[in-house]
């Protein structure tokens, strides 16, 4: 999949004749074409030695892990791209390639500007050095002599806002302080492209706000941002486009809103799949106490004050009577109510070999309107170990202005 064509580039929408003439225009700030990166896999000591020989002879490594494959996109000055994906998808590898830390195994990369990269905590800081000395080091990495740094140094110190700690060795800093200094350094040297990894999450709230404000200003002034984040909010707020990397490949590329929504939908679906009842065969295969079916009535929406019935079947590997816990949590996971069979001296009914059934009715459901999850857990007969957990989404409908998530029985005393 070649993503570059999806971008509104100089060439898009023009004829080939004009295209040829346009080549005199400044090239893309950043252009990746079919970029891929393999990492050598070596398990044994001898493997390392063989790898050295292979590399010296100009061969690639024999056994490789394909961290990134066939990634293409381009960015013009002033664009911003968010990179999202699960852990281990290849996001960091991609950023490292753009930052020049590693070279792609396949494909081509062209960068026509100065890259400011903030990869992981404290990019390139030396722990023994003071904050000030590390500022000089960072400047040296960018080719600035200490004398040239001049006023920039004061800017960096002011933005990092570390007070007297700027004279302490970095190793004494908290992770948040390191990020502050790192961000201050990466931004003060006016990069053409700013690359940041998942680092903002570490700073405190006020620093995060300053970073976001800085980035917005930077983007408004025509800066180019390559942001890697697990925060869909930040990606949507700062980036016009987003790239979803999955298993080293470009899963989706486009407008930030579309890509982040697709990504979130994928996650919801993935989680929902994990919470489905296992079914009889797979419950038996699991070899632990497991809920293999769950029926909720009414299935999705109930009105406030009506009755809710939950029925289910449990697999018991040793044919002893398991304990079943049924509960309701809010969409954000806050528990509302839960009750287990052994708390009320109830037992699920045996309906066959290794199989038990349970049913519980909540009458006059006092939940306030909103989205909830109904959970059923299978526990061992002692009610100690929790083995399985199945969820079912329910929506409580109704019109009320009450606050909270459950209606408590109440009565107002009229004043006399």
């Amino acid at each position: 999949m070649r993503l570059g064509h999806d971008l509104p580039s100089i060439r898009d929408g023009r004829s080939a004749v004009i295209d040829a003439r346009m080549s005199a225009f400044p090239p893309m700030l950043l252009e990746l074409a079919n970029v891929g990166k393999d990492y050598a896999k070596v398990e044994t000591r001898g493997g390392r030695l063989r790898l050295v020989f292979d590399l010296l002879r100009g061969h690639g490594a024999r056994h490789v892990f394909r961290a990134l494959d066939d990634i293409s996109f381009s960015m013009q000055r002033g664009q911003s791209l968010g990179i999202i994906g699960e852990n281990g998808a290849g996001k960091s590898t991609l950023l490292k390639i753009v930052a020049g830390v590693i070279q792609p195994t396949r494909g081509t990369l062209a960068v026509n500007g100065r890259v400011g990269a903030l990869l992981e905590l404290g990019s390139g800081f030396h722990p023994e050095y003071t904050g000030l000395a590390n500022i000089d080091l960072a400047a040296a990495l960018l080719g600035l002599a200490p004398s040239e740094l001049g006023a920039k140094r004061d800017e960096i110190i002011a933005f990092a806002d570390l007070g007297e700690h700027i004279h302490d060795p970095i190793k004494q800093y908290s992770s948040g302080m390191v990020v502050r200094l790192g961000f201050a350094v990466a931004t003060a040297l006016s990069p053409d492209i700013l690359i940041t990894d998942e680092v903002l999450a570490v700073g405190d709230e006020s620093f995060q706000k300053r970073c976001i404000a800085w980035m917005e200003r930077y983007l408004a002034q025509g800066g180019t941002l390559l942001l890697c984040s697990h925060s869909m909010y930040h990606v949507q707020k700062l980036c016009a486009h987003a790239l979803w990397v999955k298993d080293g490949r470009a899963e989706r590329y486009g407008a930030a809103a579309d890509v982040t929504q697709a990504y979130l939908a994928y996650h919801e679906e993935k989680e929902a799949r994990a919470r489905q009842p296992l079914g009889v065969d797979r419950a038996a295969a699991s070899g632990v106490y497991a809920i293999d079916s769950l029926v909720v009535e009414p299935a999705d929406a109930i009105t406030q004050g009506s009755t809710l019935t939950v029925r289910g079947e449990v697999f018991s590997p040793d044919d002893r009577t398991p304990v079943v816990l049924v509960g309701i949590v809010r969409a954000d996971g806050t528990p509302v109510y839960g009750v287990a069979t052994d708390m009320e001296n109830e037992t699920p009914q045996r309906i066959g070999r290794q199989r038990f059934a349970f049913a519980i009715t909540f009458s006059d459901v006092a939940l306030l309107p909103g989205r909830y999850q109904l959970r059923a857990h299978a526990l061992d007969p002692e009610g100690v170990r929790l083995f399985d957990h199945v969820e079912h989404a329910i929506t409580v409908t109704g019109a009320t202005r009450e606050l909270g998530f459950v209606r408590l029985p109440h009565r107002w005393q009229s004043s006399t």
């Binding site: 390392r48 030695l49 020049g100 081509t108 100065r114 023994e128 050095y129 080091l137 040296a140 600035l144």
Partner: protein, 282 residues
């Protein structure tokens, strides 16, 4: 200061791709700034925690020299140092040997302390090794100059004219050792054994080199082997120049220069071949 084609080594096209013009002046300015920074860092962090600081770097060879003097002249009662005093004889060779040994040992593992940077920042990795070797040589050379001055003041026959030979010999040594260190440092990233093998190997090599004894004491049949050691050339030429005042060029000098250059180019070739893969292994 914004430059269209920038300072980072980022104009990277895989082999076979078109190359673009790099702003060489700025590229070099950056590498120089980095070298100076790493060089200073080497000197300061190396002795940062120690009370004696730099002084120890200079005193360490002196202490060694005193021990050797005690053992060889008072216990073994060795004689026959080409008519020179043991102290002057050994001092000529001890400092360059220690420079080479320390440069190799420190240089071989120097990349490890820059692991964080190698993984996160784009820069030419060889600057780390170059700075490490340069720092060691700078310190040992200062010590060497100091001991020459002390010996001369103490009345030992140190020929000042010998510096005409001694300084080029040190430079050839520096070039050769730099190449060897680049080679070992690159291999060390992948094969950690280098570090552990190096120390005993250097120890053995020290006794097989005519540092504590003159070549003439080596049995005739073995002499050719000992003389083939490139370090024998370093030691011999330093003694020729500084103790005997002989400054004429010899045929061996050309060989030594070629060997040093080959070591340098070979080591650098291996280093550059392997350095793109450091990030994953360092």
């Amino acid at each position: 200061m914004r430059d269209s084609a920038h300072l980072h080594d980022n104009e990277r096209k895989p082999a076979g791709g078109a190359t673009s013009v790099r702003p060489w002046r700025q590229f070099h300015a950056r590498n120089r700034a980095l070298f100076v920074n790493f060089f200073r860092r080497e000197l300061t962090t190396r002795y940062l925690g120690s009370v004696t600081g730099f002084a120890w770097a200079l005193l360490n060879p002196l202490a060694l020299l005193a021990v050797y003097h005690f053992v060889f002249t008072h216990i073994f009662r060795a004689t026959g140092f080409a008519g020179q005093s043991f102290l002057a004889f050994v001092a000529m060779a001890l400092w360059p040997w220690l420079a080479a040994q320390e440069a190799l040992q420190r240089g071989a593992v120097s990349l490890a302390s820059y692991a964080g940077m190698i993984r996160k920042v784009a820069f030419p990795h060889e600057i780390v090794v170059l700075a490490s070797v340069a720092a060691t040589f700078a310190l040992q050379f200062i010590g060497y100059a100091a001991i020459l001055a002390v010996l001369r003041i103490a009345g030992e026959p140190v020929h000042v004219i010998g510096l005409v030979v001694a300084i080029p010999v040190w430079i050839v040594l520096l070039v050769g050792i730099t190449g060897l260190t680049l080679l070992l440092a690159a291999l060390q990233v992948f094969v950690r054994d280098i570090e552990h093998v190096l120390m005993p190997l250097l120890m053995m090599l020290m006794y097989l080199t005519p540092i504590l004894y003159p070549l003439t004491l080596v049995p005739e049949g073995m002499r050719a082997w000992v003389a083939a050691n490139p370090f024998n050339w370093v030691v011999g030429r330093l003694r020729d120049g500084l103790l005997d005042g002989r400054v004429a060029l010899e045929r061996g000098d050309a060989v030594a220069v070629v060997v040093a250059l080959m070591l340098f180019l070979g080591g650098r070739w291996v280093f550059r071949r392997l350095s793109p893969h450091f990030e994953d292994f360092v």
